[in-house]
Point group: C2
Chain length 397, copies 2
């Protein structure tokens, strides 16, 4: 049984703030500061170049990958950490399109991150081989899996609405039609139980700065199914994805399995912060995290709907079809979110009208949810959002 | 006049160690520890998601890019920081090949990093349009600039020998033949004066963990000439390279200029360390760095050649044709380097027989060089390298 009071105590949370945005940037694990400090002073400062061997830096992408693998049902040696999510999407898609070279359609849905679609369009232009991106509605993905589709590229949990795809069923249906699958787990890893092995996913990618609390700009991860491991050619043929990086061989030969998806030197300082967070993840059971996430978000929906009839639920009401976030639609959502932030409740806004709240049981509890709902009610009932200062456009939300 | 005693005092250097490997991993700026600590505690910990605006994280790739730009002769707004060097090489090459779409040859030389060649071969395979990589000897680059060449991809300073290309003259000759140039400055930025504007380079890329002391896995940088800024299509069409990332527009529209080469969220913790190093760079004049680098390396060559006739100089003797490193060839170089490291002199080894020593005037002085030469002489004269324990193969050197 996970001790969530204990895990909460391991995060630095500003006094008086209710932080419902851990789905955008996770909170700071207190131990991360000392961990990074020690990595810098005792490893970089004292070992210098020898740290690659002596401190094991060179193996960090694989070792940390294995730790993340435990959270997503990936066996040891099938996940690597590094780069950014968009780069990992690019690598997965480029490899999958080569494996399924006879087909030209990439299927995704309108609930996917625009960033995944940008990367896809960019790759299609570079390849210039007649590929096309086909977007369907989230509800029609299963019916859109036709035999011209090479790759199904989906984000499991919709970043706007929190709607959760059925990874197991969609992957099975895709495979029945000879389609490879790429699952973006940005809003899944650390948010709910994921089992890429049970789902038989082909590729999975994700980031670590949301529910995995690695800090701003923390690295991404990539899973590659063992059965594809030696078929997938890395489009970004990176030095550290070479079979023998330190042979300085002029010819590229890919390393075994997912290791070939490594590119350059791993971000060791960011990885030290990530490791401090993964130490906390070692103390929890994902089923407990999911149960508490559902409790918190159900409570939040009930309280907000009771107090604020103007807010329209934009997430599935059924918790079984929802990730670990709840969104409400409101025409003046941007201004309302600014009013909430000023009153000590941080969520975020997604254009055109989505107010988004994330639930991270490692450091959020029912008291936070009750307080959040009362702040929202205060802002809505009194129309506190209706103030010119909240209507200025921000660059980042 | 640069005060190198002062700059040296700003680095943490292990007592008793002579570190001639700053060309592989720069030393730790003492202030980086506090800087990173404060970024984590006061920005991530207190501002959480609002740090992207309030602490200015979102603009760091451009602001830090401008600081690096000053070291390589790039005007404001033409350099961005992020990702790894190999990714930046890939982006530059993919864009350049599209601009010069009628030509199929990528010219590089045998002195380039294998990693740059891996990326090139990987991109050629992905594009599958009949491009080919042609390698010449470093001495014959100028004569190999024929009109079938689309892109000249060179590393200015050879990572093995330190041989320095003439960027101005080769870029001019390339342009005369309609060839675009990509300069890899991994061993140039912070090592010697570079002026991408004066050279009229098209693209330049580099890393920050060598002479720029950003720490293991620090980010890369990319320069894009203003005259090409709006022609270069980003193959990796990343979210933060979008004209309006936070519009979450389903259509990709590239940002102005080099900003379009941004991909995902910048590594803010690693960038904090880099900024501490750039504060030191603000105190120095590159011409002073170069003068001292030449003094140190000339002294090193003189002392080592006088004491160790078995070591054959593998670098240009003329300092005008050399970067900030000196290499010697020795059949048992690997074992000899292990013997040196055990005796407090860190350099590194590059297969098959290169012993490499880097000179970083910010924290290395003539006393270090004299001491280094005497350790080398001790090891060579007494054949201390001839010991079974030094012959085991390492994974990283």
């Amino acid at each position: 049984m996970t001790d969530f009071a204990k895990t909460r105590s391991l995060f630095q949370l500003p006094q008086g703030l209710v932080y419902l945005d851990g789905n955008s940037l996770g909170a700071l694990p207190k131990a991360a500061v000392a961990r990074v400090n020690s990595m810098m002073r005792d490893e970089w400062g004292k070992m210098l170049i020898c740290g690659w061997n002596s401190a094991g830096w060179i193996n960090q992408p694989a070792l940390v990958g294995d730790r993340i693998g435990k959270l997503i049902g990936a066996p040891g040696g099938t996940v690597v950490v590094g780069d950014k999510l968009s780069i990992k999407v690019y690598q997965a898609l480029a490899s999958a399109l080569e494996i399924n070279a006879g087909r030209k359609v990439i299927l995704s849905d309108t609930g996917n991150f625009p960033s995944d679609l940008y990367i896809t369009e960019g790759l299609i232009k570079s390849l210039d081989k007649g590929h096309r991106l086909k977007l369907c509605e989230p509800e029609t993905v299963a019916d859109s899996l036709t035999e011209d589709v090479a790759v199904l590229l989906l984000t499991e949990v919709d970043y706007k609405t929190g709607r959760l795809h059925d990874m197991v069923s969609l992957t099975r249906k895709a495979h029945e039609k000879g389609i490879l699958t790429i699952w973006d787990l940005a809003h899944s890893a650390g948010a709910l139980p994921v089992d890429v092995s049970a789902a038989d996913a082909d590729f999975a990618v994700g980031c670590t700065y949301k529910y995995l609390n690695s800090g701003p700009g923390g690295p991404a991860f990539m899973y590659l199914a063992p059965r594809l491991a030696n078929q997938a050619r890395p489009a970004l043929a990176g030095w550290l994805g070479h079979e023998q990086p330190f042979a300085f061989d002029p010819e590229y030969r890919p390393a075994e399995g997912v290791q070939r998806m490594r590119i350059g030197t791993p971000p060791i300082i960011q990885l030290a912060a990530l490791e401090a967070s993964l130490d906390i993840w070692d103390m929890v059971e994902m089923k407990d995290v999911r149960r508490k996430s559902v409790e918190l978000s159900d409570l939040f929906i009930r309280l907000v709907e009771a107090g604020c009839p103007e807010l329209k639920l934009a997430s599935p009401r059924d918790s079984g079809q929802r990730g670990s976030q709840v969104s409400f639609q409101f025409e003046y959502g941007y201004a309302a979110m600014q009013a909430l932030i000023e009153r000590g409740l941080t969520g975020d806004f997604r254009a055109p009208d989505i107010m988004r709240f994330g639930f991270t049981p490692l450091y959020i509890d029912a008291g936070d949810v009750t307080k959040a709902a009362s702040i929202i009610e205060e802002v809505m009932v009194n129309r506190l959002w209706d103030n010119a200062k909240y209507f200025a456009q921000s660059t980042v939300t």
